[in-house]
Amino acid sequence: MIFLAKLGIGVLGTALVGGAALSSEGFIYVNVQEKHPGGTHVHVFVPAALVPTALHFVPRHNFADSAHDMRDALPIIDAAIPALNECPDGVLVEVKDPGEHVLVTKRGGSIIVDVNDPDETVHVSVPLIAAQSAIHQIAEARLMD
């Protein structure tokens, strides 16, 4: 009985520590809803800490073109993301016309993009720090080969 209790505490502790580590960088949330009848609804909620690990399993050649472009933009990204992280929350960009509404906001440590057009609604929330580390990983993909 004591052994089972110790095992339970161990499993619970590991789950808690693992959960805390996974959620330490926040969560990436993607929600796409097609508006036509029977339209697809995509709902993704992933711990941002998983992204660097997941990128390790993507074949490097898939990053070839984007890696080159991103390497050029790295100094700007490295300057922009920490500065944006320190900025107060608020709307950064809004584009509205009779058929479409696009909203880019900064909330907490995340950048959020909402698109509402006649065909679908899209909501994407990405933690800034996770985005920065993912971009670095993609940019350095070719260098690691």
């Binding site: 050029d72 100094p75 700007i76 490295d78 300057a79 922009a80 920490p82 500065a83 944006l84 320190e86 900025c87 107060p88 929350d89 608020g90 709307v91 950064l92 960009v93 809004e94 584009v95 509205k96 016309d97 009779p98």
Partner: protein, 191 residues
């Protein structure tokens, strides 16, 4: 009388703390550059709210095309033998007042130095479009500081904008589109 007297130091101290806190909050408030474009006919709206601190960090990191090290290269600042920097130096020492007024059949143009700001007003009579540009003098000076003849110091101008009060820099109003560019400490574009 006595209780009032004994309260005075405490009141003075709390007022001083309140004033210091207010000043500190005012000093640390994030300044925003807002751009709002509206089209009353098509009901289109574009609004951009950029924290100046963000622009201040990004601009020096961009080394692409004509923008390098926070400075933008302008092709012909000495256009047609007119030295823009020399004109700005002359404007700096000139007293406030109207410098240029052009009135013809097509448009009216007015350039003046008013209340420490360079003010440009253009009215296009054909399109009924009004353009008002107001640039604080500190920003004009920052734009040409530490630059070669054909450069404008964008980084310094943004730093200078941090210190100017709430002001509208550009306002374009026409029948098709209205544009407003302004600076304040609000993170929304409410006027």
């Amino acid at each position: 009388m006595k209780p009032t007297k004994s309260l005075f130091p405490a009141l003075a101290l709390s007022s001083a703390i309140l004033l210091t806190a207010t000043l500190a909050m005012a000093a640390s408030a994030t300044r925003y550059l807002h751009v709002k474009v509206t089209n009353p006919t098509s009901h289109e709206l574009v609004r951009v709210n950029v924290p100046l601190i963000l622009a201040e960090k990004i601009i020096p990191a961009i080394n692409h095309g004509e923008l390098r090290d926070g400075k933008i290269h302008i092709g012909h600042m000495n256009a047609d033998e007119v030295n823009v920097r020399a004109i700005l130096d002359a404007l700096k020492t000139a007293p406030e007042g109207e410098f240029v007024t052009v009135q013809n059949a097509g448009d009216n143009v007015r350039v003046a130095k008013e209340h420490g700001q360079v003010v440009v007003h253009v009215l296009d009579k054909d399109s009924k479009e009004n353009v008002d540009v107001t640039v604080p003098w500190d920003v004009v000076e920052a734009l040409v500081s530490n630059t070669a003849d054909d450069q404008l110091n964008v980084e310094a101008a943004i730093k200078a904008l941090q210190n100017v009060g709430d002001t509208t820099l550009v306002r374009v109003s026409g029948s098709d589109e209205n544009v407003r560019v302004w600076i304040d400490s609000r993170n929304t574009d409410s006027e």
